[in-house]
């Protein structure tokens, strides 16, 4: 590649990076500012109080006075359990679809794939009544249970993972006399770790970011997830941008850390959902 072309490409890449990053960076820097500084008519990128007295005031205030510490905890519980649950559901289901023969296999699998794209808004009204009947309103359960049991994408991902493993592995284990559960749990599952990691991250992210179910099923502030807490805070104190931005940074950080440390699993998982969904 010629030097000229390289320079042009890098220029474009950097310009786009700037468009992508700038809103985040500006939010991050402003999350330290006081309200007065945010509304100042001559905005500066570096907050006045950086590395000085009161730098963390916004964060202290939002975490303690506005209960965001609790919201973050709730989100970890909900997203973590839902993601673990999906690993359970999808690895078992995917294994059955990949390695076993049974009646209606194709029909069940097709139904699962066909309903994958249907938005939750289509099923949410009957679901709401199921949750009311089960007395699950204002608990974590409606945020966890449907999500852990509907794992079309994960089942698909794990089915192809298990399908691609050699039959010789299976035959050898049968000769050794393992039972069906051991075959799944001790022979196949340990070999599916990358796919499981992808699925966990994607499920965790989706549940961390979900808004509809929390808004519908939760009205006790102690049970708000971070996403919902942020939405509620915007609704109630929409002009307190200094706190709102600090809350927004807090809602992004955990996913950002996971993303940066496990980027390859993210992309691999998304690709499977994309090219084969």
């Amino acid at each position: 590649m010629s030097l000229g072309r390289k320079i042009i490409l890098y220029t474009i890449l950097i310009a786009i990076s700037f468009t992508t990053l700038f809103p985040f960076l500006w939010m991050f820097s402003s999350s330290f500012k006081t309200m007065g500084e945010i509304f100042s008519l001559t905005p500066s990128f570096i907050p006045d109080n950086i590395f000085a007295e009161g730098m963390w005031n916004n964060y202290k205030s939002i975490l303690q006075e506005y209960n965001f510490l609790r919201f973050i905890f709730n989100s970890f519980v909900v997203a973590g359990l839902a993601a673990l649950g999906q690993l359970f559901t999808c690895s078992l289901g995917g294994f059955a679809f990949a390695r076993m023969e049974f009646r209606f296999k194709e029909v069940i699998f097709a139904l699962m794939l066909a309903t994958m794209m249907i938005p939750i808004q289509v099923t949410i009204i009957p679901e709401y009544f199921i949750m009311l009947k089960l007395n699950w309103y204002n608990t974590y359960l409606p945020l966890i249970v449907p999500s852990m049991l509907i794992g079309s994408f994960g089942t698909f991902l794990l089915r192809s993972t298990f399908e691609n493993m050699p039959s010789s592995m299976e035959e050898a284990a049968f000769i050794d006399g393992v039972n069906d559960w051991q075959m799944f749990y001790m022979v196949f599952l340990p070999n599916a770790k990358p796919a499981l990691a992808s699925l966990f991250i994607i499920a965790f992210m989706n549940n961390w970011n979900a808004l509809l179910r929390p808004v519908i099923y939760i009205d006790k502030p102690d049970l708000y997830t971070i996403t919902m807490g942020l939405a509620m805070f915007k609704g109630n104190y929409g002009t307190q941008w200094h706190l709102l931005l600090a809350g927004s940074v807090l809602s992004i950080l955990p996913l950002l850390f996971i993303y940066m440390s496990m980027q390859k699993y993210f992309v691999r998982g998304m690709l499977t959902s994309g090219t084969k969904g």
């Binding site: 509907i150 069906d180 509809l212």
Partner: protein, 291 residues
């Protein structure tokens, strides 16, 4: 050497529970509910096509359908062109490309709610960043309120959503690009083809299966956009940015008109079902095209 007959069914218990109780069952129930008048406090009453008749004779609903159409009609080409451009860009072999790919993907993993907060703030009138920058560098006294004025609100949502999602479609396109055999490009280079000709006669045709898939995914994605509306405009001002999916939420959980909202959800269901079907039906043929 075989599994016991009962084993697959035991393994499928969670999957089947989910499929029956949270997908197929509710889908059927929503279909039935769409023929009833039903709020939460009294039992449903059968009214036949009443909800559908009310929907299609309502000016508000026509406006909502129009908004949905505009949203999809602009979001889909917008995000696809942006994503294809990004994918072509990051498909170049250059130092640091993994970094750029990761960076362009960043808005995708960030929650819609925080994206909505960031952009609401950037676009907020008078004190928002955009207003401050514009008034600093250009001598424009007043910008319109991009979220507060009905003629702009919907388009602002579309813009923000394209900005947020382009990285996702980029990854899909990138996978498609990397499946195109390098020899075609080499042969074309020998024949003296220009960059544009290579794009027009090699990349675009061989990318068709991917493009088709990305098109379907993008259409469905556009129809599912709920969170951004919720956080940025609440469907307002005065329904100007209310789309079908947002209206279902409002009618069901703000007005508690469950039957009416179910009828809307069924209209959405049918639209999504058509695109899902098209995807299943044409995918094979498109795939053959490339092989």
């Amino acid at each position: 050497m075989k599994y016991k007959k009962i084993t697959p069914w035991l393994f499928l218990i969670p999957t089947l529970l989910g499929l029956v109780f949270f997908r197929l069952g509710p889908m059927l129930a929503a279909g039935l509910a769409s023929f009833t008048r039903w709020n939460v406090f009294s039992p449903p009453k059968w009214i036949g096509l009443g909800n559908y008749i009310e929907l299609f004779s309502s000016g508000t609903f026509r406006m909502i359908l129009k908004n949905t159409l505009i949203f999809s009609g602009l979001f889909v080409p917008g995000v696809m062109i942006a994503a294809l451009f990004l994918a072509l860009l990051v498909n170049n072999r250059l130092r640091g490309m993994t970094f750029f790919r990761g960076l362009f993907y960043l808005p995708v993993i960030t929650s819609v709610v925080s994206i909505g907060v960031i952009w609401s703030w950037i676009l907020s009138p008078r004190f928002g960043l955009l207003y401050q920058l514009v008034s600093k560098f250009f001598n424009i006294a007043r910008l319109p309120s991009f979220l507060g004025q009905p003629e702009y609100a919907l388009y602002t949502l579309i813009f923000v959503y394209v900005w947020k999602m382009a990285g996702y479609q980029m990854i899909l396109f990138l996978a498609g690009l990397q499946n195109i055999p390098q020899v075609y490009y080499e042969a074309a280079t020998i024949d003296g083809a220009s960059i544009w000709q290579k794009f027009r006669y090699i990349t675009l045709p061989l990318l068709t299966p991917t493009t088709f898939f990305v098109l379907i995914i993008s259409i469905i994605m556009s129809l599912k956009t709920f969170e951004l509306t919720y956080i940025m405009t609440q469907g307002g001002p005065n329904y100007a940015s209310t789309t079908l999916i947002y209206s279902i939420y409002v009618n069901a959980f703000k007005h508690f008109r469950m039957g009416y909202a179910s009828a809307m959800s069924y209209i959405l269901f049918i639209i999504v079902a058509v695109f899902t079907y098209l995807n299943f039906k044409y995918k094979k043929r498109w795939v053959h095209y490339s092989e």
